[in-house]
């Protein structure tokens, strides 16, 4: 292809004046602070294996979803993660409870010695929704697990949460969507909530 045939990637006016993103108005910083602290405290409960208390942060109708990720071509009309595809987590409260039961059981051999987990939560953004007391919260995470002597596995991803203020005024997690960067989980298991 000769130089004269190379086209500008964008019309000249678009280069001069790119369209700014349409973000909603920033919420009250006290709300953002409260939600950030909620997420950090939640992460610490998981790191410290305080699963009973972690379950206490969830609404009764919680939906905890971590879809499997597939590498598909951009023109694939079936799009990104969809609920009909296989997932790592697609749980209600009962099934999160079942997982906690296994984690805590004395015969969960692969949890003894304990897995050492560290959740790093970042990029927290809070948006108000049309429903009073419901907040859409974006965040990112890095999760590191250490096992036995020298085993280590890393996961990074994005989360979209729906937090809801309950009747007593406390924040609860009503919905979480987790998107990791791996299509092949580069670990033998996923013995951690993200």
């Amino acid at each position: 292809m000769s130089v004269s045939q190379v086209q500008e990637p964008h019309p000249a006016d678009a280069i001069r004046s790119p369209r700014p993103p349409q973000f909603p108005a920033l919420p009250d910083p006290r709300l953002v602070f409260e939600i950030e602290q909620f997420l950090y405290r939640e992460a610490r409960l998981l790191d410290e294996e305080r699963y009973e208390e972690w379950l206490g942060l969830l609404t009764e109708d919680v939906h905890y979803w971590m879809p499997g990720i597939q590498a598909r071509y951009r023109n694939d009309t079936s799009g990104g993660p969809i609920s009909e595809r296989m997932a790592f987590y697609d749980d209600d409260l009962l099934n999160l409870r079942r997982r906690v039961t296994r984690f805590m059981h004395a015969t969960a051999w692969a949890e003894d010695p304990a897995t050492r987990a560290c959740h790093i939560i970042n990029n927290v953004e809070v948006e108000l929704t049309d429903t009073e007391g419901d907040y859409r919260v974006y965040s990112t995470f890095v999760n590191c697990r250490g096992r036995n002597e020298a085993e280590e596995s890393w996961l990074a991803g994005r989360r979209t949460d729906l937090l809801r203020r309950d009747a007593e005024g406390a924040l609860r997690l009503a919905r979480r969507e987790i998107y990791i960067t791996q299509t092949v989980l580069l670990a033998k298991n996923l013995n951690v909530f993200l």
Binding site: R72, D76, E84, M86, N95, W109, K188
Partner: protein, 442 residues
């Protein structure tokens, strides 16, 4: 089809040295088979490039242009349905410079175009065109597009399961499966409408030799009550009960094996979905009419199975999985959910979630397996550990005749007989220079 070279020349382990590693009479196996590079390399040649390898369920490539990518051993392949409705399997490696020609896991494509120089291949793997084609025609005296397609494997299907082999001398798929088809029908043929895979495919890496999970599924009933106690507590509310040992069996043929009982719902109970148990119970008479009374009691019974070399399933629990070799000490696990095509959508969703929460990387049962398999592999790094002969001697005297069960049948599930048969077939294949030397009737 492009020209194929003769077999590589390298220092293959001798048949004699291999036989010393596996003593089927006493039931003793050397951990070296899980660790040594040369054995692994020989497995890729003589098992994965030779046997019929499961590549897809027909439902995954239902329409012309539907494709998915997977592997046969460490060879990447594309499984694609052509415009003529036929499914083909071809190498995912360009005959020009060897680059991958397809990078997506699944989708629908008109053609597969190499990113490197733009060689484009059709849904049937044939070379359709390439940039500067006229220069090739002018300057390459033997240039023939028809000989530069992607390398094709033989493809055959059994009741929805698609298998492929790159060995032109391999026996027919029917002969390869033999009597095992009777057992496969327990998951594939309980309903007029046949089966399908739910969409999606969960993949993960386990740092273990691929045979460790394959032998676990072929017949390791023993580990369930110990390894999976915590998972059973989570899913059933109580630990694994004391397993019955009468009227429970291990059966194998050609190295394929299944361990099972006739409790009908033992496996499916674990999913924690009472409606699925109900579905199986309601269909008992119907299934008995199709498959007979014996198999109607096996459809979701406690048990496990491996189709040699690397395809495993749990009847009723409906997980299907392959243990794909990625070096001697790494396995890439691919898992799917199998359902009856005509099952109600609400039940399919329950299968999908049930399998996820039991047998997937996050599953309450599977989580404990990977830990065992990795460490059962890693200990073989030790010189002294490799001198140890591992004990596979359970049930040496348990062979029985059974009126209705085909293959080699052994009474009692706590039994290593299927695992010995798996390694018997493994040894036969590794020792044979080609299919004509592989003993039949095992």
């Amino acid at each position: 089809m492009s020209e194929q070279l003769e077999e590589e020349v390298w220092a293959r382990p001798s048949a004699e040295s291999l036989r010393q590693l596996v003593d089927l009479q006493k039931g003793r196996i050397s951990p070296r088979i899980f660790w040594d590079d040369a054995i692994y390399r020989l497995e890729l040649e003589r098992i994965f490039a030779r046997c019929w390898i499961f590549v897809a369920h027909e439902s995954q490539v239902a329409s012309p242009g539907d494709f998915l990518t997977t592997t046969i051993g460490e060879d990447g392949v594309i499984v694609a349905r052509g415009n003529d409705g036929q499914v083909r399997v071809f190498l995912n490696a360009c005959p020009h410079r060897g680059n991958r020609v397809c990078f997506a896991e699944a989708g629908n494509a008109r053609r597969f175009t190499c990113n490197y120089h733009g060689w484009a291949f059709g849904r049937d793997g044939a070379l359709l065109g390439l940039p500067a084609e006229e220069i090739y025609e002018k300057t390459c005296p033997d240039f023939d597009k028809s000989e530069l397609g992607l390398m094709q494997a033989r493809v055959a299907s059994y009741k929805g399961l698609l298998f492929a082999t790159f060995d032109p001398a391999a026996p027919s798929l029917d002969d390869y499966l033999g009597d095992y088809r009777w057992y496969l029908d327990v998951i594939l043929d309980t309903d007029e409408g046949g089966t399908e895979f739910l969409t999606g495919n969960i993949k993960s890496w386990i740092d273990c030799n691929w045979k460790v999970p394959a032998e676990n599924f072929v017949g390791d009933a023993l580990h369930a009550q110990w390894t999976h106690n915590s998972g059973a507590v989570a899913m059933l509310g109580s630990g694994v009960g004391k397993a019955k040992q009468d009227s429970v069996y291990q059966a194998n043929t050609n190295g394929h094996g299944m361990q099972f009982g006739f409790d009908m719902v033992g496996n499916i109970m674990t999913l924690g979905e009472p409606e699925l148990v109900q579905y199986i119970r309601e269909r008992e008479t119907l299934v008995a009419e199709r498959l007979g009374k014996v198999r109607s009691r096996m459809v979701a019974a406690m048990g496990s199975a491996t189709l040699f070399p690397h395809f495993s399933f749990l009847a009723g629990l409906n997980t299907i999985r392959t243990w794909n070799p990625r070096g001697p000490h790494r396995t890439e696990l691919h898992t799917w959910v199998l359902v009856n095509k005509d099952a109600p959508a609400s039940l399919k969703a329950k299968y999908r979630r049930g399998v996820m929460r039991t047998f997937s990387p996050s599953g309450t049962l599977e989580m404990d397996d990977g830990e065992n398999w990795e460490n059962a592999t890693r200990t073989a790094a030790g010189v002294v550990a490799r001198r140890q002969k591992l004990h596979y001697g359970l049930g040496l005297n348990s062979k029985v005749e059974h009126e209705e069960l085909p293959g080699n049948v052994h009474l009692r599930k706590f039994n290593d007989s299927n695992q010995r048969a798996f390694y018997g077939r493994w040894l036969d294949l590794l020792c044979a220079e080609d299919w004509s030397q592989v003993p039949g009737g095992r």
